[in-house]
Assembly symmetry: C2
Homo-oligomer: 341 residues x 2
DNA sequence: CTGTTAGCGCATTCAT
DNA sequence: ATGAATGCGCTAACAG
């Protein structure tokens, strides 16, 4: 059996609470250097490791935070998660990462699991099928920060992105190149980010006086296959778009590229492509991608700090929504449209 | 405050232990249907969530496993981790993922942290600076599975890859194409996988009667920059290699590609490239890569099952090393060498 | 400066 | 079929 405080105490001939005090250091209590040293020596000898579980039970504080994201394989969330773990590590917090696969039931399960484990706070990129459980969470006063996605009419700490503006910038770039038929490759419809990106798209169409075409808005998910299928649909249209804005992230975009290549079309000669894309690979793709990307480390930092402030402040700190800009990088996947009649 | 067993019991007018029994179900104890139903109803009403921390303390079982990898941003480990989490979820285990950044001290810290948290088992891709702490772990009888990297003369459960053979296959492919000057882009020297890959490289040279050239073996790490710098070195050589085998994984390989492109060379016209590469992007790169890739899900599964068997078997199960093959996929980054004198 | 006591929430043994 | 009692390992309030 692993040695306990009691074992250490017995070994030194002192009371367990004394050992506890020495080990925790703090407390405005002086302890004779002699026993102090003896205890530390015994700890080394017995190779004592404190039991976090017992400590968490007693203190009602687990030094654990939960991070719930759709999928850690997505480079966007991966980088954010990594940063949060890093910062957590520095502050002695362990992070438990949960993947929902955009499944609302899983989100619920994970949430309960995390609460059951007594996490000190939760960072959540919610599946947005409903928000009741989030309201519950707030009522339970569990420190919470949403990332990427928020709900209207729900006051909660959050770190988000200026999605609409980002798309405006992208479309604007395409329009300047001369594009008029610009398609929008969507991710899952009801997700906050996607809604906002679509809004940005519509606003841009309006601003530049372009015709709205229902068939130019496609896509229903965040997976490779979703991007592939949706783009195929686009490519079967009688009037092909001359440009695509891919808003579903890395995987969707790769799917789109596959579909385009398989149809014997080239980027950007036949079709321009701008994508929300976060992996490092964009410069090395067949056609280096013009991208909208996130400052993912920054997002992770803001989220973690926001959460930590809530956890550590006795009274509730004011609710904040932090918006992190995107980065627009022009590479080779965008060009003037072909001059065909 | 969150309701406890006691609260539920009081609400029903019954003893806490009875509630506990009902909630856990098992036990060869019958409970009258009436109280049973009353209790379940109260649980719903009070929205009782059991306290895992308390349970873990009492049962000395946390339903948690630790996964320590160098870096979850590496697609190789990301996919493995994801699979382990998935399987864990099915079996009610929570997974705590830790990233060492190939830092031995961090590995030690994480290991202690996990033990302190009372994990039921650990899956570890060790930084291989020493193995003492691993021996400790085994002595503590904490269920353990190594992945990717093992130590000589250390009996421990592990899931590894046939690294040497994979490289043999790769070099063999290059030789058949006519290459004679084949360089080896290494990752960190002292890592098991890398050693084995290098062995495979040397064996292949011998087999095909090619000259060993010390300058053709470069590279010291697993990061993008490592690959970039090392490849630059290669490209400064008076006699350029006509092919490179990149054994350091995705990032290193991207770094190599960048270096090659920046030097105005083309793949595969000027230089062929085979890489250990696990991300989905390989077909869409500027030159679709000929790759050696892993069955990552499979590796995750084997590791998890091996660990679970240890955790759940009362007596220690026999120690096993499982070797998972790699997949060799020929794409466009390998071709005949240029016919220059 | 250190010992005593109590209890976090739960599972479990022993009663009844 | 259920209640009572005990303690997992630790921290914290109170003594002295």
């Amino acid at each position: 059996m692993a040695p306990t405080l009691k074992d250490v105490a017995a070994h030194v001939g002192v009371h367990p609470s004394t050992v506890s005090r020495v080990l925790r250091g703090k407390e405005n209590v002086k302890i004779s250097e002699k026993t102090h040293d003896k205890i530390l020596k015994a700890v080394k000898e017995l190779n004592y490791i404190p039991d976090f579980t017992a400590r968490a039970l007693r203190m009602k504080k687990s030094f654990t935070i939960g991070l719930i994201v759709p999928d850690i394989l997505n480079p966007y969330f991966a980088r954010i998660a990594r940063r949060i773990e890093q910062l957590g590590f520095n502050k002695k917090y362990t992070v438990i990462v949960c993947n929902t696969d955009e499944d609302h039931d899983k989100e619920l399960l994970f949430l309960n699991q995390l609460i059951s484990r007594g996490v000190d706070g939760i960072i959540l990129a919610p599946v947005q099928d409903s928000k009741d459980h989030i309201v519950d969470l707030i009522e339970k006063k569990i420190p919470l920060v949403l990332i990427d996605r928020v709900f209207e009419n729900l006051k909660v700490n959050a770190v988000i992105t200026n999605n609409a503006d980002s798309v405006m910038k992208a479309v604007s770039h395409l329009v300047k190149l001369g594009h008029k038929r610009i398609a929008f490759l969507r991710g899952q419809k009801h997700i906050y980010t996607i809604k906002n990106r679509l809004d940005g798209y519509y606003k841009a169409l309006k601003k530049f006086n372009l015709q709205k075409n229902k068939n130019y808005v496609v896509g229903e998910g965040f997976e490779f296959e979703d991007g592939y299928e949706a783009t195929l649909k686009l490519l079967k249209l009688p009037k092909l778009p001359t440009a695509i804005v891919s808003s579903g992230g890395d995987l969707v975009t790769l799917g789109a590229i596959k579909a385009i290549m398989e149809n014997g079309l080239s980027i950007p000669e036949d079709i321009s492509l701008i994508a929300f894309f976060d992996s490092l690979y964009s410069p090395y793709l067949a056609t280096p991608l013009t991208t909208i990307s996130h400052f993912r480390k920054r997002i992770g930092e803001e989220a973690f700090n926001l959460l930590l402030k809530q956890i550590e402040s006795k009274r509730k700190s004011p609710i904040k929504t932090i918006c992190v800009d995107t980065k627009f990088e022009i590479r080779n996947s965008t060009a003037k449209p072909k001059n065909k009649k």
